[in-house]
Each structure stands twice: as structure tokens, then as C-alpha cells.
Amino acid sequence: MAVPTTGDRVAAPLTWRVARLVERRVETPTAQTLMLEVPGWPGHRPGQHVDIRLTAADGYQAARSYSLAAPAEGERIAVTVQRVPDGEVSPYLTDTYAEGDPVEVRGPIGGWFVWRADETAPVLLVGGGSGVVPLMAMVRARREAGNRAPFRLIYSVRTPDDVFYAEELRRRTRDDQGLDVAYVYTRAAPEGWRGEPHRIGLADVNTHGWPPDLEPLCYVCGPTGFVEAVADLLVGLGHPTRRVKTERFGPTG
């Protein structure tokens, strides 16, 4: 295959900027979206991420990467944080971090797992768990740009209570022309949902995705095993590997 290219090289050094929490939205019992005000934020593309760094009073620092969940609103950015029970950073962000408090933010980072708002090709998004976050940024950017590329999102999630952005996804499925959302439940399905809970399989990807001859762009994000499985299914269905972009995450705290 051709060597992937990633576009323009980034010229300026990425600096740490002081960000403050301006709003917190509860997504699920264990996940929250944090709206951060970042003076000097240069803007970003959907799919990019930031590093967030915490400093303790004794100078100890811990940094983690978080996907940006939405296009920037001026100097405001959104990240959605899934609380990792034994984590070091996420429990602080979800439980302790208060409005007005500072963290340091560096970004935007990543020039590969991004969608350009001037693309016209159909898009298939496949997210597992909190892997939906950068995909939601693409869904939101599509609407914001008035882009009419047909979008399909397959969202694999344990139970209905674990769905991020549930209300917004319902609304967008109704209002955003050309956006379809399909759910795959792995532990418990809602009342009236057809089928049994299961891990995502060939039938799900075949039914709710695009056929390869439409040359869709495919973005797959989630835990390693999920991404491995879905990427293999897409390649098996005939999608060229260069049109399947993946982002895998291991444990983050």
C-alpha cells in the first residue's frame, strides 16, 4: 500500500497553557464532560487530543492524553473523562477538580486520526465505550460546518446507562440529515431492542456500515481488543487498509 501521509508538519512548539474548568456535564455515572477555558487556544480538528497535566503542591506532576469531544467554542474546549477506579488523574478530574481551578493543557495533538470538514466521502465511525469521544467531535464538527457527507456511527457500549451524549445523539439522529446511529450492547440491551447483547461482529459492521465500493472513510476508536476486532472485520469486508484509521487506548488514569 501507499505510505500514509499526514499533511502539514506542525511548526510551532506546543506550549503548556493554563486552563480552568468552566462547566461540568454528567454523561454517565462514571463519565463527565469538562468544559475548559484555555486562553490562547489555537483551535483544532475533530479527532485530535490534548495532554492534561496536573501538578501537586510538592511539585509532582502527572499527565494523560484525552480526546477532544467537540469543536472549540472560541477558547473553550471539551474533554470527556471516564473515571478509572484506580486511576491517578481521572478520579481527580471527575471528583475533586472544581470550577475555576487550573490544570495545564497542551495541544492540539495528532494529525492522523482526524476528519476534515471539507471531506465529502461517506464516513463510518465505530466507537467502543469512551472511544466514542473523538468520533462525537467529528459528528459535531460535521453539523457545525454544514457538511452533508453521509455519516454512520456504530456505538458499542455495555448498557444503555453507559451511553455518552445520549440525549444529543437522539436529537442529532432526528435533526442532522444524513446521520445514522446504531448501538451494539455488550452486557444489557434496552427494552424493545431487537437482539441479544453481544460483542460487535461482522453482521453489525456489514448492516450498519458502508459497502467498500462507496469508498468510505472509516474511523475506529476504543480499547485495543475492540479496535483490533473491528479493523480486522473492515479489512475482511474489503475496505482498503489506508481508509481505516484507528485509535487504540489502553488503561488511562
Binding site: R9, L14, Q61, E228, K245
Partner: protein
């Protein structure tokens, strides 16, 4: 020191071993890649060293296995902030592969099945610091971690340790690879925290 986040304490760290700045320890082995995992059959696998004049040195899987093997026990550091200590590998030293290769090149561009590339100074592949590794923790290297064989250059951030490695091109001029073109650092020393361009 950065801006203090009120109430943040971090993990108890009296027993923490020395880690490069900004890194945290993980026991798992997370994966960072850009696309689907290539599956490379061993009977068609090959590793090709190409010099700046175009001379090629090729090894089949069996030929690689017939070379002297080493068993590096090393710490690895990913740019996404995780570090994993004391990992066990088996592979062939780049010193062995470069032995007898006539070159005046100063740079190397590793390339992979699947199209991935990453650049390194040639000196960083020498001196017992780099391997083509095919075994992890006593078993065949799993495909999602770069099997059948990956580059192992543990003194640099792990994206330099190209998975599914297919060859190395020796160059007189530095040529940035995949992540380097996407804004990551050209060299990537974890101890100097060279994550992104400009660091």
C-alpha cells in the same frame, strides 16, 4: 514547576522507581497504531537493509532466526505517557545486521508492512541499543504488538520501535517518518521529554 491544581496529590510515590519525566507505570501493554494490524505470513516475510547507494541486504525469516540471538531485558516508554519496566524480548541486534554493510549514512528510516515509517540517527541503531525483535515474554510477538517482528529501540519513545518492521533504508539526510510528519519529535528521547516538535 507547573501550576498547582488544588487538591491534587498523585499516587503515593515513595516506592516509585525512576521514570522519565511525565511517564507513569503500567503493568499492561497498551497499543498505539494508526490503522489495521497487518498480518504477515512467515514464509513471505523478509527484512531488507538498503544502503544510500541502493545496495540491498535481505534476510528471510529462517535466515533471521539463524543469526546470533540476544535477549534484551529493557524498560519501554510510550509518548502517550505509559512506561513499562523490565520487559523481556528476543531478537537480533542491529549490530549483527549492520556488520559488513558498507555505508557512510548517518540516518535510517525504518519502514513497516502496512506503510508505517519512522526515522532515527544510524548511531542509535548501533552499540547494542537496537534489535529486530520477534519474541516477547517468552512467546511469539503478537501481531497487535508488531509481530512477527518489530524494531526495538528502548532508549527512544516507543513509536521509534517500528512494528511489523520490513526494512531499514540508510540515508545521508534525515527524513521524517509517519508520526514525525504529524508533529512528533524527530528524535524522541524520553529522558529529555522530546514528545512533539519543538520540545
Amino acid at each position: 514547576m507547573g501550576i498547582v491544581s488544588p487538591g491534587f496529590q498523585g499516587r503515593p510515590r515513595t516506592a516509585e522507581p525512576a521514570l522519565p519525566p511525565g511517564q507513569y507505570l503500567t503493568q499492561d501493554f497498551p497499543v498505539l497504531s494508526a490503522g489495521p494490524t497487518p498480518r504477515v505470513p512467515l514464509d513471505t516475510w523478509e527484512f531488507v537493509l538498503t544502503t544510500e547507494t541502493g545496495a540491498e541486504y535481505r534476510w528471510s525469516w529462517d535466515e533471521l532466526m539463524g543469526l546470533p540471538q540476544e535477549t534484551p531485558h529493557v524498560d519501554i516508554h510510550c509518548v502517550t505517557h505509559w512506561s513499562k519496566l523490565g520487559t523481556d524480548w528476543q531478537g537480533v541486534s542491529l549490530d549483527t545486521l549492520l556488520d559488513g554493510v558498507d555505508t557512510a549514512a548517518r540516518y535510517a528510516l525504518a519502514h513497516s508492512y502496512g506503510g508505517y515509517t519512522t526515522n532515527l540517527p544510524l548511531d542509535d541503531l548501533r552499540g547494542g541499543r537496537a534489535w529486530v525483535a520477534h519474541t516477547y515474554d517468552g512467546g511469539p510477538l503478537p501481531a497487535e504488538h508488531g509481530g512477527p517482528a518489530r524494531l526495538l529501540v528502548p532508549h527512544l519513545y516507543f513509536w521509534k520501535s517500528a512494528k511489523w518492521v520490513r526494512g531499514i533504508r540508510l540515508l545521508t539526510d534525515d527524513q521524517p517518518g509517519f508520526w514525525e510528519t504529524a508533529g512528533y519529535h524527530d528524535y524522541g528521547d524520553p529522558w529529555r521529554e522530546q514528545r512533539y516538535q519543538g520540545d
